[in-house]
Symmetry: C2
Subunit: 209 residues, 2 copies
């Protein structure tokens, strides 16, 4: 993660100011960047006619923009270029919070909600560098080893960049918050940590034929 924007605090807007559980809200750019950098998936909300549609895709970051990509001809890419508002939400799940009362059960999580309109990354050098950064998110340094996109592949792929400007993070961490009168109840309370773990790599069987 770059540190160029550490210390930067984004200005909350009516759409990104955390209302409920406002103590969980964060507007620090570094905190927002770290969540985007760690997440293998984000969810893009856009309008298709009058219907909100939510589609998962891999987010990555270059500087102060959140990038996504897709087939140039896909509905998501076309709708996102129509000029309407869109929302990108990134969520990392850190654990189940088990309380003594049913009501205080919760989830530990880190999330980012970002509003905006993306720009199309069309200049070839910038687009190639952006796609290299995506491959390097999957495995650092990998873009130097994989066969780069040819002209046809590059054309078939659209890269969109959202400014990380109207955005906020929301974080819950730590133990349950039971009511004082429930603390003596004979039920286990605490956190079951959850994390996305990489397993043993599975080589492509086609390589062994």
């Amino acid at each position: 993660m770059t540190t160029e924007t550490s210390g930067t605090r984004l200005a909350p807007t009516p759409r990104t100011r955390t209302v409920r559980m406002h103590e969980r809200g964060q507007y620090d750019a570094a905190a927002i960047h770290a969540i985007i950098d760690e997440a293998p998936v984000c969810h893009i909300g856009f309008l298709d006619g009058t219907t909100p549609v939510v589609i998962p895709t891999v987010p990555w970051r270059v500087g102060n923009e959140l990038l996504i990509h897709g087939a140039s001809s896909s509905r998501m890419i076309r709708r996102l270029q129509d000029g309407g508002e869109s929302c990108v939400t990134v969520t990392l799940i850190d654990g189940w919070v088990l309380a003594r009362s049913a009501f205080h059960h919760s989830v530990n999580y880190r999330s980012v909600v970002l509003f905006g309109r993306p720009r199309l990354v069309s200049e070839e050098r910038e687009k190639r560098a952006a796609l290299d950064a995506l491959v390097d998110k999957i495995e650092p340094g990998r873009s130097a080893r994989a066969r780069p996109a040819n002209a046809q592949e590059l054309k078939a792929t659209a890269v969109l960049a959202f400014p990380i400007a109207e955005a906020s993070a929301k974080v819950r961490s730590g133990p349950p918050s039971d009511d004082p009168e429930d603390m003596g109840l004979p039920v286990w309370a605490g956190v079951v940590p959850l994390s996305l773990v990489a397993g043993e790599p599975v080589p492509d069987p086609a390589a062994q034929r």
Copy 2:
């Protein structure tokens, strides 16, 4: 997971028919249910004015409905009851797919996209049973041990149920699909499995005071 609907196939609609990578589309109710049952989080897309908003929350299932809950006074719960269309997307990440070409890198995943309008679960017995099912998703049998919601907590919590009707699943699994002319390139190709793993439970430190 109940098996009452195994074998049921949902009718694709123009909104749920998989267009891109259509071979990844699935309309089998049991496949859709299994993804919802496993997921700790879903993303709800709804309209706030003309802006699509995407919010993460825990999904669970009772029969053929996907349930969510929230503070009765929250924006999400209020907007979802306004009568407009909404979209619920559930995504499980199963692995990074590392190809020989940058273009064929991918993600193994299982996702569900569901369109519809939720109903408010308001009848007390049904609402309590629904919230018990949520606690039991976190830890089977736990609803019998945790202190049940009192009248005030029950009133402060809204439960919404989406019919699992206009829904489809999309699944990618298996190795990369490189082009034949790239198979000889000297770059490792295969899958790095990813899974959400539970760690050692951390007891609430407040219990030890």
